[in-house]
């Protein structure tokens, strides 16, 4: 039986913890709102970029299937890079664990299919996890999530494209692994092919005269990197929103758990106090009885 003082100390420390988790929940909720806003703002741009790219790429494929842009060319996936997006900080529930598990499973699958797999990790948690499991990490970026910008996405995109098109040990495929933002309380891990880019099929009425300025090839040269950049930026924003959503939920649960614990401890404290009072009374009565003699 812990003493009254011990119980009081525990209640105090749980209360402090609860204050912290509550504050973290509020911070996450505020950041989540901002992240959600950025996704909504980016979405039309991302959709349109994809549409435009799809049309041009499909036409290029139709006109000249032999001589495709390297980023459009589908090769046997001997050499694969996985781009894994986790967070830099923990305390976000199963957010990082889910991603790591999904990345690990896919990694082993790809290896079983005979591909050699390398990683690009964005976020400290994923880096630490994969490094412990002996993954080959070609690039790692940390501190991106504090302030994700289009320029940073561009930098990462250029690195990927460079790896993809450089001749020595060039990559044959590239996957993105990230948490897709569904709602504040649910995230879904997606493993999505980033490269090569597979254009959607053209509808009948889209095959007509079209003026390109400059030529199709030159356009693709600028459109493709831009597409990769926008895709990455979208994944970054989705991941950030998911992270804050996950942290908010986790901290909310932690706050209510702390509340339960405080309730139980308070009950225990009251019982112990009552027991002590009863004991004292018994002693007094016992003493008085003895004096009566």
């Amino acid at each position: 039986m812990p003493s009254l003082k011990d119980i009081r100390k525990r209640i105090g420390s749980v209360k402090n913890t609860q204050k912290i988790t509550r504050a973290m929940k509020l911070v996450a909720a505020a950041r989540l709102r901002r992240a959600q806003q950025s996704i909504l703002e980016l979405r039309p741009y991302a959709v349109k970029t994809h549409e435009v790219l799809s049309t041009v790429a499909a036409r290029a494929k139709l006109d000249d299937p032999e001589n495709l842009h390297p980023l459009l060319e589908v090769r046997e996936p001997k050499h694969v890079m996985m781009v894994v997006l986790t967070s830099d900080r923990g305390l976000a529930g199963a957010f990082n664990a889910n991603i790591n598990k999904a990345a690990f499973t896919r990694w082993k699958e790809l290896e079983a299919e005979g591909s050699s797999v390398e990683f690009m990790v964005i976020g400290r948690k994923g880096r630490d996890y994969l490094r412990r499991r002996g993954a080959t990490i070609r690039h790692d970026f940390t501190g991106v999530f504090a302030d994700p910008t289009l320029d940073k996405a561009g930098e990462i995109g250029r690195t990927i494209i460079h790896e993809y098109t450089s001749h020595e040990e060039s990559l044959d495929a590239c996957y993105l692994v990230y948490n897709e933002f569904k709602s504040a309380i649910s995230q879904e891990v997606v493993v999505e092919p980033l490269l090569p880019i597979v254009p959607s099929e053209l509808a009948e009425d889209q095959i007509g005269d079209f003026i390109y300025e400059p030529g199709k090839t030159a356009l693709l040269d600028t459109l493709l990197p831009m597409y990769v950049q926008v895709e990455l930026f979208r994944a970054l924003l989705e991941s950030v929103a998911s992270e804050h959503g996950a942290r908010m939920t986790a901290m909310d649960a932690a706050t209510s758990n702390a509340g339960d614990l405080i309730g139980r401890l308070t009950l225990q404290y009251n019982r112990a106090r009552q027991a002590a009072i009863t004991k004292e009374l018994m002693e007094i009565i016992g003493g008085a009885e003895a004096l009566k003699g």
Partner: protein, 141 residues
């Protein structure tokens, strides 16, 4: 027959502009070009510069960054990283940015390549485009 164009400007920070227009002029990498309703389908790469469009008898101006334009008979869609309306441009601040970027650029001397150089060049172009847009807006109004 379409008699008007729907002009849309999409940027990474949202749909910056959506309006009906009688004609649109934008700077492509191969030079200024204009679009009237019923234009042939066109896709062009844009460079930093000023976008002008006429709507209900008035000419409007905006500064845009590099990107793409897709024109259809009744629609013009611009995809660009940067977009600014003249009313939102702080002329003095942009002049400062321009001077700063130009000075940094001069420091590069003869080596006109590499990431850092391109970035600076982009800053110079963007600052210049915004100043041009303000000047142009004053001229047409």
């Amino acid at each position: 027959m379409a008699s008007q164009l729907t002009l849309e400007v999409a940027t990474p920070t949202g749909l910056a502009l959506r309006t009906e227009a009688d004609s649109v002029q934008a700077p492509s990498v191969q030079g200024e070009f204009g679009v009237l309703p019923d234009h042939l389908p066109l896709l062009a790469a844009l460079r930093t510069g000023i976008l002008t469009y006429r709507a209900s008898g008035k000419t409007h101006v905006a500064a845009i960054g590099p990107g793409f334009v897709e024109a259809e008979p009744d629609k013009v869609l611009l995809l660009t990283d940067l977009f600014a309306l003249p009313a939102d441009v702080d002329v003095d601040a942009v002049r400062g940015e321009l001077a700063e970027a130009k000075q940094a650029l001069a420091g590069f001397g003869e080596r006109h390549e590499g990431q850092a150089y391109e970035e600076l060049q982009r800053n110079v172009d963007w600052a210049q485009a915004r100043l041009d847009a303000v000047a142009e807006a004053d001229r047409v109004s």
